[in-house]
Symmetry: C2
Subunit: 182 residues, 2 copies
């Protein structure tokens, strides 16, 4: 749950980061930046700012903004109907992002789970993405990511995005952001 | 057909444009920028520079660089098998691009066909895209585009790209770039 002030502040901060990265948004896009706190009300630790450019029944493209050390919690994109699940490619545009995927755990990972994360971070194969670096995540596989100390901007190219069916390891999570009226 | 020098010069110029736009490429991506002259050997007039970030059997993302007044000639992406054809979204990142699609012809379009273009430009519904502007093109519909006087950088988000099956209005066109050894 976010207050209106928290939502507004996160939007303005994300818009400033995107401008700094040379990414131009329309006024409407700036005003509608999605701020996800995953229902945990700890946005600085666990959260994500999102601009959805396009999301048709075939293709989706987004810009993701992560504030310093902000974490997108572990989840997977399950199959639905004839789709094997969402396939997504992350490409780092600025800053550094550490992506964790299924596979051999990295011995000394660069990130720790956020304090409020509990034991809901189970995959530890680390992929470090700096500007120009990218990685494609197979459908229905677990992943999570955290920005470095200066935050990050990450482009996401994917099949259709259906956030509402994502499966999070932390069962307390609700993907839809709830804004609390003050 | 391009000479090795033309290919190298176009790659370096496109890489410089992308850097100027704040887009970071890896050294390998810079070295492999695709330069398409559509077999017409008039790159300044009819051509396109392309960085393919990802092209799986579901999703494709590219960066397109157009030099000033350079034109991507009219074409469509036909159905193949169970696919209705490639769906693509163009998002302008820098400069201006004029996109022409099927529909009511625009009375005073901002572009003329390139001198060498013959009568192979048949759709004239104009969509002007400036930074932050975008448009989605339905599968199997005709389109072409030309940059303004300062060139343009355009992100393309699409389903799988299969350039070799594209259907060009100008039947002289061959999509694969041939490099002439000097």
């Amino acid at each position: 749950m976010l207050t209106r002030d928290e939502l507004r502040a996160a939007r303005e901060r994300a818009a400033a980061v995107l401008t700094e990265s040379g990414i131009v948004l329309t006024p409407l896009e700036r005003a509608n930046i999605e701020v996800a706190d995953f229902g945990l009300s700890r946005l600085d630790d666990i959260g994500l700012q999102i601009v959805v450019y396009v999301n048709t029944d075939r293709v989706c493209a987004k810009e993701l903004v992560l504030f310093p050390r902000q974490t997108c919690p572990e989840h997977r994109h399950p199959p639905l109907g004839e789709s094997p699940g969402k396939e997504e490619t992350f490409r780092c545009r600025s800053g550094v992002v550490y992506l964790y995927v299924e596979g051999e755990p990295t011995a000394n990972p660069a990130c720790r789970p956020p304090a409020s994360g509990g034991d809901a971070f189970t995959v530890w194969h680390e992929i470090e993405l700096r500007p120009g670096g990218q990685h494609t995540i197979a459908p229905n596989t677990l992943h999570w990511f955290q920005a470095g100390d200066d935050g990050a901007v990450v482009s996401e190219f994917s099949t259709t995005s259906m956030d509402e069916i994502d499966v999070f390891t932390d069962t307390r999570i609700g993907r839809a952001t709830v804004v609390r009226e003050e």
